[in-house]
């Protein structure tokens, strides 16, 4: 049932491969996809991965640097796969332990790994173990809890209807019981007794119901009788002349029913001065008049939580006393392999540290999970502690995430587009107030400095002053780079059509205008929108799908915390859903703004690149035109790991 099973080293050499249903070389592409999307992007938390029609499950051996991958069809649900992988792992490792330990890489290169017979045996065992399980026998009615309940506890004394339902149920139940009692005569007497008791109860309740009804009826009749005694009088009077209808609520007349203030609405009487209780109105008597007080927050809850957390950890620390000391010594010298329990406390601390540095919570958890998977079973060298190993691995993982997966060179791509005589279109999208227009101006300044002419398309037709803002920027940039110093051509121009128009249409017109006039770059500014505003997201997706820009940049501020995950996921989803193409245009890059407002809480960079796996193209560090930087992965990670 398996498609393939491969065992390969982390250095890339395939040690052994089993081709099941498909032919050879069907394993390479899916496994490469697995490596690229899961292992290299630190998503190693859960160990299964879907690629086209296959599901891939994998296991890492960190001691000998091996990877075990099994692939099978997605529609099948094979229950024995996990156990199979574990068994194969153990056998393979034990069988070829010598090659790995003594000969190292050459051992892997030269060794022949004849594992087929063992594998077939393990596969057969696994398949049999999943098949051999007695079919589950259904519980009989007597064994279930329902038969042990009495009727009384199932009754609700709210009204007649539930009782009726219960009665019907009981009837059905009794029918069933009748059938069962035929089969089990031993229990028949009990069952019958129950039936009879239930039946009696029901009859009693029926009587009760009838009685209650009668009582109520009489009661009503009494009242009715009184009323009827009243009624002839008004009837007699009715014959005389029309009388106002008297309702049951008593002899109230219009005056009493009039609740409107007689004094207000045009009357000359002054409103009665209400009694103003100064204590209620002003609140705290002790406040100084005119002073604005700070927000008082309650720090009691946090202190309590910390105490609770500390208490359970204390006893475990005490237990670890003597054993911990020897373990520490043992860990310093010689080869100790890492286990989950060793890494657990350190990973917890690292996770909290990351969250304190503004990394989104779920991403911090996934990252720590992936690092744990990568380190489990690894043999530490001499004089390395568990803490240092974990920190090192986490640092490498973070640098890996921040490295761009594709080439980030905007100038090179603009030059390419210049050669093909078409403008290079960049679209900026993001939520409200992150700095799209400001960073658009900065990027156009940078492009002008490098000799490219820019057309700014004002597709923010909603926010008041958006077009004027861009016009001011255009004027300033033209002052800084007048046409005379660039051979007579205007380096930056604004294309706008006012407010209220369709953004996608303006973008399309701007691009064709740029092509006609020979502009090198078109920067499209869109309106800020919240990620759960469906009509606005549809409009943005339409703009991007129709105009097919070369670069779609998502502008996000560095101050954002867990929101970053939600924003990016929903933006990408909207772009994917509303695109007609086979491969929809998603976000191509991220602009991280307001970086100067955070000192070293740089976690937002990690959250954003982890979610999209797209690079951070620019970083905005201020509001002047020169405050545009590119990301330095090592510096960011150093700031992140700093205590």
């Amino acid at each position: 049932m398996l498609d393939f099973f491969t065992i390969f080293s982390k250095g890339g050499l395939v040690l052994w491969c089993f081709q099941g249903v498909r032919g050879p070389a069907a394993a390479t592409a899916p496994v490469n996809a697995l490596i690229r999307s899961v292992l290299l992007q630190e998503r190693g938390g859960n160990n299964s991965f879907n690629h086209e029609a296959l599901t891939l499950k994998y296991k890492l051996d960190n001691q000998f640097e091996l990877v075990f991958v099994v692939g099978f069809q997605k529609i099948l649900t094979l229950t024995y796969v996990d156990k199979l992988i574990d068994d194969v792992h153990k056998e393979f490792r034990d069988k070829y332990r010598n090659e790995f330990q003594q000969k190292g890489t050459l051992g892997i290169l030269n060794g022949t790994f004849d594992f087929k017979d063992d594998f077939m045996r393990l596969l057969r065992d696994a398949e049999e173990s999943s098949r051999v399980r007695a079919p589950t026998v259904m519980k009989t009615f007597e064994q279930s809890l329902k038969s042990q309940k009495t009727v009384k506890c199932m009754l609700e004394t709210r009204g007649e209807k539930p009782k009726e339902k219960v009665k019907n149920k009981k009837n059905k139940g009794s029918k069933k019981e009748g059938a069962e009692t035929v089969a089990a005569p031993g229990k028949a007497s009990v069952g019958e007794k129950q039936l009879s008791a239930a039946g009696e109860k029901e009859e009693l309740t029926k009587d009760e119901i009838l009685q209650k009804n009668r009582e109520e009826f009489f009661r009503r009749h009494m009242r009715a009788g009184e009323k009827s005694s009243k009624s002839p009088k008004p009837e007699a009077q009715k014959e005389k002349g029309k009388k106002p209808r008297v309702w049951d609520l008593g002899n109230s007349n219009a005056k009493v029913l009039d609740y409107s203030n007689s004094a207000t609405n045009g009357s000359t009487e002054a409103c009665p001065v209400e009694e103003f209780d100064p204590d209620l109105g002003l609140g705290d008597r002790n406040r100084e008049p005119g002073r604005l007080y700070d927000l008082e927050y309650e720090s009691n809850d946090e202190a309590e939580e910390e105490k609770f957390i500390q208490n359970p950890t204390k006893p475990s620390a005490k237990k670890g006393g003597l054993g911990g000391m020897f373990g520490m010594l043992k860990g310093l010298v010689g080869s100790k392999s890492l286990t989950r329990e060793d890494m657990e406390p350190i990973l917890e601390k690292m996770k909290d540290h990351l969250i304190a540095k503004n990394v989104a919570a779920e991403i911090a958890i996934q990252l720590c999970e992936s690092v744990a998977k990568k380190l489990e079973g690894k043999v530490m060298g001499t004089f390395t502690t568990v803490t240092s190993t974990v920190k090192q691995a986490l640092q490498e993982a973070l640098v890996q995430i921040l490295q761009p997966q594709r080439r980030v060179d905007v100038l090179r791509d603009v030059m390419d587009a210049q050669r093909h005589r078409r403008p290079y279109v960049v679209t900026f999208c993001g939520v409200n107030g992150v700095g799209k227009s400001t960073n658009l101006a900065k990027i156009s300044f940078w492009l002008i400095e490098n000799g490219f002419s820019v057309l700014i398309a004002a597709c923010d037709t909603f926010r008041a002053g958006a077009v004027e803002q861009l016009r001011t920027h255009t004027r300033r940039l033209n002052t800084l780079h007048p046409p005379e110093s660039h051979g007579g051509r205007t380096m930056v121009q604004l294309y706008e059509k006012g407010y209220g128009k369709d953004a996608a249409g303006i973008a399309m017109e701007a691009i064709s205008y740029a092509r006609n006039q020979g502009f090198d770059v078109v920067l499209v500014d869109t309106a800020g929108r919240m990620q759960d505003n469906a009509p606005l997201m549809t409009a943005l997706a339409k703009l991007i799908a129709v105009n097919a820009p070369d670069l779609v940049l998502f502008v996000g501020e560095a101050l954002v915390g867990n929101e970053a995950v939600d924003q990016l996921v929903k933006f990408n989803k909207a772009l994917a859903d509303h695109s007609m193409a086979q491969t929809p245009r998603l976000i191509d890059g991220i602009v991280l703004t307001k970086f100067d407002t955070i000192d070293d809480k740089v976690g937002a960079a990690i959250s954003m690149t982890y979610i999209t796996s797209k690079p951070i193209v620019f970083v905005g560090t201020g509001q002047t035109y020169c405050d545009l930087r590119s990301l330095n992965a090592k510096a960011v990670v150093a700031a992140l790991m700093k205590a």
Binding site: T105, Q400, Q403, S630, L631
Partner: protein, 258 residues
Amino acid sequence: MAGRLEPHLEALRRELRASDPAVLSVLLALLAVAITFLIWRFIQSRRSSRKAVLLLGLCDAGKTLLFARLLTGRYRDTQTSITDSSAVYRARNDKSANVTLIDLPGHESLRLQFLERFKAAARAIVFVVDSVAFQREVKDVAEFLYQVLVDSTVLKNAPALLIACNKQDVTMAKSAKLIQQQLEKELNTLRVTRSAAPTSLDGSATGGSAQLGRKGKDFDFSQLPMKVEFVECSARGSKGEEGDADFEDLEKWLAKIA
């Protein structure tokens, strides 16, 4: 001569006896420390002598297969590498000098990290290029090559550089000459765009402050401080998996620098 030494030795002996034993012991300890320090330094310099040949390149260029072929001569199936692999390689002509071949992963998120780790020990760099997909990937190849070339450690040590145009067994493969021309053109453009990129967050320039080649003139591989050569090879070999690989030029070059 012995006469001249004798009175000196006598004087030394008298002084030693006269002086305080504590001072003596301190002097002896300092001497021992100095000797240990010198020995340690000597061993370090021996260890850090650059004996490694790095196999670099983009993903799917064929580095791991080349690595396996060079060491064992046999064909092996390969997957995308996640970590480095290293082994000692003995040149064919029995010169008894051996180098350590190190195969580094080519994936974008890993390549710079591993380069950082091994660049100091590099005596030579073999940059493997996929000749079939070169036309499509020329910008990515040039970018990685640029990053390798402007690295400060690489510029300082100037290891010999060989650009191996792999996958020549496929008919559509580009020749080494064509690849050289295209790379020179691309690197010429790159040094302009990379130096114009926005500066990095901590102030250091992204592409390194080094200028590749000579200003004012078009970029040429001869302008680099290290020796650069281009060879064609095929790790898979023209006869497929059973036959040998076609890389005599590569082996000759390796023997030369070993």
